[in-house]
């Protein structure tokens, strides 16, 4: 294992960060809070500078919490006035928390959809009404991408859509700016589309996990009601932006999408399972069955019927589940040791006011996740927001759910650089776009996104939530 300079610095800062709080005595922070602060420093340094893969850091975080903060660990075997340690099962339990199971269901569905070409065939059908004018094709591609990435990973959706647009790009003139517009439209739409549903992208899981730690459950359908109007506006903005920035020269483009739906028995079982699961998810508020329970429908049916095999299960992106679980686990300790409250208490929030606080959280989330993993951004920011809201320091208007949504959604609106998200990296790798193209368009979307999120947080989300 070779570490580059940045990674080495991350490793050193992380280790020092872990140890330092043991030698300090911070007033107003319990001893357990000191330990949790050390783990938080380590996690932040490791997640940001990546001396190790981020999923590995997540498991390390869970392990360190068990060793140092659980009832079965070295330091806190007895309850005390300052800290009542959680059992170690609370930490490893995050690996099977409802939100993880929800994602597992989503993964199984998405992977089966890819296996039986459902994603590609849906694209074919959904694109056909958009005709052949460059502008409307671009819109069609973005709508379909966003729709798919609401249920599949943004990255897999981008990869699939690349197979659709690369042949189009090869047919249009080498100097036609439309090529750049097309190449950017897919990752942008995928990043934005991921916001639509709880399973769309991991930062959503972090939001829901943190809220459920607070005893707040947002049904699947309600999340969609909260998120979809924002997604639609952001998508339209991105479409207009790309059309204006990269005016197409070609007057019409053709998409050659031949193929037909797989009608094998397995494929039909998948279609039914997909339809049923999504139907039950979006109607959660009608029947009250929790989305994590519904998520077991595809897992059960698709494995019983052999539509999803042992090999398919092995290939699921388990590391994403670890990543999310590590974040949820860290949130537990930050709350129970009083660390989050202390961090929050050490800043003069009163001087900010609700609106500027929301703007700050949105802006910081967009900024951070341009450089960091979206999930890590959400993981590091949400515990702060949660304690800010639950402590009441920030005042009455500062709603827990709203500020969590602000962070979660903003983390998905960062798309300035190739490293911002894996879909951006894929688009960049085609060699069609320059970093400056992506940066200009991505900054515009980021800034617009911050404004949009704050407007929704002030005017729309409160109506839905109350």
């Amino acid at each position: 294992m070779k570490l580059n300079r940045k990674q080495l610095i991350g490793l050193i800062i992380g280790l020092i960060g872990l140890i330092i709080p043991f030698f300090l005595s911070i007033e107003g922070l319990s001893y357990a809070g000191h330990v949790a602060l050390g783990i938080f420093f380590l996690a932040a340094a490791f997640w940001m500078l990546e001396p190790f893969p981020i999923y590995a850091t997540s498991v390390l975080v869970i392990f360190l919490q068990i060793l140092l903060l659980s009832k079965q660990g070295f330091l806190f075997q007895e309850d005390s006035a300052a800290y009542i340690p959680d059992a170690y099962t609370a930490f490893i339990g995050t690996l099977a928390s409802p939100i993880i199971i929800l994602f597992l269901g989503g993964f199984v569905l998405a992977d089966a959809a890819v296996k039986y070409n459902l994603d590609r065939n849906l694209t074919r059908i959904l694109l056909s009404p958009f005709g052949s004018k460059p502008g409307s094709i671009l819109l069609g591609l973005m709508v379909v991408t966003a729709l798919l990435s609401a249920f599949m990973s943004n990255t897999a959706t981008t990869a699939m859509m690349m197979t659709v647009i690369l042949p189009i790009m090869a047919r249009i003139g080498k100097t036609d700016p439309l090529r750049i517009g097309l190449a950017l439209s897919i990752p942008f739409a995928a990043n934005i589309g991921g916001i639509t549903t709880p399973i769309g992208t991991p930062p959503n899981a972090v939001v829901l996990g943190a809220l459920s730690n607070q005893g707040i459950n947002i049904p699947f359908g309600e999340w969609m009601i909260l998120a979809t109007p924002l997604v639609v506006i952001a998508l339209l903005f991105a479409w207009i932006l790309l059309l204006k920035m990269f005016k197409p020269e070609a007057s019409s483009i053709e998409i050659d999408m031949s193929g037909k739906f797989n009608t094998s028995q397995n494929a039909i079982i998948l279609y039914v399972a997909f339809g049923l699961t999504v139907l039950f998810w979006v109607t959660e508020s009608l029947h009250g069955i929790k989305s994590a329970i519904i998520a077991l429908i595809p897992v059960v049916f698709l494995t019983l019927t052999g539509v999803v095999t042992k090999e398919d299960i092995r290939k699921l992106p388990w590391e994403v589940l670890w990543l999310v679980a590590g974040g949820i686990s860290l949130g537990i300790s930050m709350k129970s040791t009083g660390l989050a409250e202390w961090i929050v208490g050490s800043i003069e929030w009163n001087s900010f006011g609700t609106i500027s606080l929301l703007i700050v959280f949105a802006a910081v989330a967009v900024l951070m996740s341009n450089f960091l993993s979206n999930t890590v951004t959400a993981t590091l920011l949400i515990p702060l927001a949660v304690s800010l809201a639950t402590s009441g320091i920030a005042g009455e208007g500062f709603n827990l759910v709203i500020v969590s949504l602000v962070i979660g959604v903003s983390a998905s609106l960062a798309m300035m650089l190739p490293i911002s998200t894996p879909p951006n990296a894929i688009a960049m790798s085609t060699g069609t776009i320059k970093t400056s193209n992506m940066a200009k368009a991505g900054i515009s979307i980021g800034l617009f996104g911050i404004v949009l999120v704050v407007i929704y947080a002030l005017f729309y989300w409160p109506i839905i939530l109350n």
Partner: protein, 165 residues
Amino acid sequence: MDHQIYILVVEDELEVMDALVNDLEQFEKFFPVESANSAEEARNVVNEIYNAGNEVGLILCDHVMPGQNGVDFLIELEKYLDQHSAKKVLVTGQAGLEDTIQAINNAHLDYYIAKPWTKELLEDVVIAQLTNFVMQRHYNPMQFMMILDSVRLSEYMRTNHITDH
């Protein structure tokens, strides 16, 4: 990229070698091209490449050469390279049926280009074979999207569970 994937050209006639290397120009930036005039020299080149921690992704090999012939060399290499399965292409006008069968059965020949070749065909074959190679070896497809078959690499990413983080 610290790890290099080489294209190796084995050809005894200098003019032909030059023409081949010329036609491979567009790949140089991503896949350094090494050349050898005989099987013996090629063996040394292969050793050097692997000893430096790099690997051969594609071999374009003539058949009729002084010393060991191309097919025999490829068969030997197949054993030597073991799981590293470099893609093997014969570029020749003179491999008979017998030799060709040998190459397919014992050297896992991946393609046969008959001389004279066209630049277009050569490029297509190199792109297809190197795309196979990087997918088979599970290299990060993104670093090759610009030069290899980007549609197939995208499809590979779609079906290989890459995901958000």
